[in-house]
């Protein structure tokens, strides 16, 4: 049963149990425990890339696609933990449990990615969500943090309920929770039968719940409050790892069991995508809080991803993969920068806290400049190519009006990205800005990649089209 195939997850699970125990004995040497965790992740990411046979366990899938995505996630986690450690250390709020919980959540994302049955998917989502509840409420000193945790907990429970209802409907009408069997059942079902209707009903419930986890409009409502309430290090985690995992879940669900229902879910996804882009862009305009603003920007970015996915074509798939990776990259950079800066002896809250950054810390100012320009979609940065690909895919599928709308929304969203830049470079206000480091190599590499991959967009394009091609392999 337990072959060596489960390596990344098993390594992390067993390793994290060890860390919990070890940490009890060396409570004072937190850095050591931290290093241990980082070592675990490196080990896991190393094994994630090793060749694995497909379908080792019927409800758990190993393929090139999943292992590549897992590798990306692990690398992302590595970087996030690096920022987190320094950030928490700086705030005097360092507990090694933060990392153990994060790693358990990380295992949750990996389970979600590999899940090949609805039950496994549910367990993965629960593991992730539970970790996130704890991480959001981690900052006990802040009322906002507790409030956010409670909010996310209750709404998350509700969305889990919706998900379970959907899953039970699917199970009830197809008699299976396995993706492959569900796909077979659906393709054999008559289009006008009641069974078909029930499956669609279940699918929409699942969609709603996943959209909630994704933070897509109109299920986005929790996003800004939770982003604002939690620590920046939690926000950076929230805005990268779960998004990628949920995205992969979306891909696998829609392109494996529900592929024959594409004519239904494509409309729904396009609606959700457009709604997210519009809401994300317009709500963000008048936000003063940096994290809320970035939360709305995340909503609008996720709109792009879902929109591209809703096209059900190869270029749409490519575009959504491309956009997801670019988005996570940009989010990693933008939140990563914020973890480094404090203003008036607290973390960055309002945009105006950043005023005068260009004079005191030009290095960080330039990093923010590049990241924001990339988010706004200014060529030659990578954000431009991502948006371009989505819009191109839209046009190729003759959604002309939608593409115009999307472009207009991009223009609107450019406004608030540029506003941040304006605040940093042109506003004179006395802020006591300090950072705990003069520079950070990882951060610089991240931002330089935003620029470099933008100048040579084909590197990324090759990666995503490879990913898309191996994803298609699975679905057949």
């Amino acid at each position: 049963m337990f072959d060596l195939f489960y390596i990344p997850e098993i390594i992390l699970s067993i390793g994290i149990l060890l860390v919990i125990v070890i940490d009890l004995y060396i409570e004072k040497q937190k850095y050591f425990s931290y290093l241990l965790i980082q070592f675990l992740i490196i080990l896991a990411s190393f094994y994630a890339l090793t060749e694995v046979p497909t379908h080792a366990y019927s409800s758990y899938e190993f393929s090139k696609f999943t292992s590549l995505i897992k590798f990306l996630l692990l690398v992302g986690a590595l970087i996030i933990f690096h920022y987190t450690y320094r950030h928490l250390n700086y705030l005097n709020n360092l507990k090694i449990e933060y990392f153990t919980i994060s790693v358990l959540g990380l295992i949750g994302t990996m389970i979600m990615i590999s899940a090949y049955s609805l039950l496994m998917l549910y367990l993965g989502i629960e593991l992730l969500s539970l970790a996130l509840y704890a991480l959001i409420g981690f900052n006990k000193a802040s009322k906002l943090s507790s409030e956010a945790a409670i909010k996310y907990y209750i709404l998350g429970a509700m969305s889990s309920g919706i998900l379970l209802f959907g899953i039970s409907l699917i199970y009830g009408f197809t008699g299976s929770i396995d993706y492959f069997e569900i796909a077979e059942q659906i393709s054999s079902v008559n289009n006008n039968s009641v069974q078909f209707l029930g499956i669609i009903f279940g699918m929409i419930f699942i969609t709603a719940s996943l959209c909630f986890k994704f933070g897509a409009a109109p299920f986005h409502i929790w996003v800004p409050d939770i982003y604002q309430g939690s620590l920046v290090s939690t926000t950076i985690l929230l805005s990268t790892l779960p998004k990628v995992a949920v995205f992969v879940v979306f891909l696998k669900l829609y392109f494996i069991p529900f592929i024959t229902l594409a004519f239904i879910w494509s409309d729904i996804l396009i609606f959700i995508g457009i709604a997210s882009i519009v809401i994300g862009s317009i709500f963000a305009l008048t936000q003063e809080n940096m994290k809320r603003l970035l939360a709305y920007s995340a909503i609008s970015n996720i709109g792009f991803i879902i929109l591209a996915m809703g096209l059900v074509t190869d270029d749409g798939l490519n575009a959504s993969l491309y956009y997801t990776i670019v988005y996570s990259f940009t989010a990693l950079a933008s939140f990563g920068i914020i973890t480094h800066i404090t203003s008036n002896s607290h973390g960055i809250e309002d945009i105006s806290d950043l005023a005068g950054l260009s004079k005191t810390h030009p290095y960080f100012a330039i990093l923010i400049l590049i990241t924001m320009l990339s988010s706004a979609g200014i060529p030659p940065l990578i954000g431009f190519h991502a948006k371009l690909m989505v819009i191109q895919a839209l046009i190729n599928n003759s959604y002309i009006i939608l593409s115009v709308l999307v472009v207009l929304m991009t223009v609107i969203s450019a406004y608030y990205y540029l506003r941040i830049i304006k605040t940093i470079y042109f506003e004179n206000r006395e802020n006591l800005i300090s950072t705990y480091t003069r520079n950070n190599i990882l951060l610089s590499i991240n931002v330089i990649l935003l620029l470099g991959l933008g100048v040579f967009p084909f590197i990324m394009f090759d990666i995503t089209s490879y990913l898309a091609s191996i994803l298609v392999d699975i679905s057949i």
Binding site: I101, L104, M120, E126, L127, A134, F201
Partner: protein, 198 residues
């Protein structure tokens, strides 16, 4: 109309009623008691499906452990009876409206749906014997072992996060240290001071 259906209808409508009472009653103790009732009723529903193990486990775990603990907490904390505030009344029509629309949609979907379907998904788990417990145990430790393990991981995470969120090291708390109590010497306790002569 057979006896199974009649039982089902009685118990499920009772279940709905008690569930509504859980969220509408203003006294938290009453809510908790209603929740206990609803657990019992859903246990009966499990029984109707022939899943006796699950029904017993539901009562044992939720009623026997979780709800008792919950009632303790409620009583110890001395929570006041919540007043129905204005917002409650304000949003009631909207809530009822959404409730009705939701139900109409579901009814529109599933009207006369399950009547002709002879898909007994549960039957397929009777693998090794008639005993529900054995069957459940068998699949749980063979086909679904990975899921089982992951559930364990979730529980671990639950414990971990509950501790980390509630545990506070408060320096003002007064507590005894048995080790130091045992360790104590006479001279630590008693200090002889020479009194002043008059």
């Amino acid at each position: 109309m057979n006896i199974e259906l009649i039982t089902f209808i009685i118990f499920s409508s009772l279940l709905i009623f008690t569930s509504i009472k859980v969220i509408t009653s203003s006294n938290p103790v009453l809510s908790a008691i209603n929740l206990v009732f609803s657990f019992f009723l859903s246990a009966v529903l499990w029984l109707l499906l022939g899943a006796e193990f699950l029904s017993i486990i539901l009562i044992l775990v939720y009623v026997g452990a979780v709800m008792v603990l919950f009632l303790f907490v409620v009583m110890m904390l001395d929570i006041n009876i919540a007043k129905k505030n204005a917002a409650y009344i304000k949003y009631l029509p909207l809530g009822i409206g959404i409730f009705i629309v939701f139900n109409i949609l579901i009814i529109l979907f599933f009207i006369n749906t399950f009547e002709n379907i002879n898909y007994n998904a549960i039957s397929s788990i009777n693998i090794i014997s008639e005993s529900n417990t054995e069957n459940l145990g068998f699949v749980l430790f063979t086909d679904y072992i990975l899921e089982f393990e992951i559930a364990g991981l979730i529980l671990l995470l639950g414990i971990l996060s509950a501790i980390i969120l509630t545990y506070r090291k408060n320096p003002n708390n007064k507590y005894q240290d048995p080790a130091r109590q045992i360790d104590v010497r006479k001279k630590d306790r008693l200090k002889v001071i020479k009194g002043l002569k008059e």
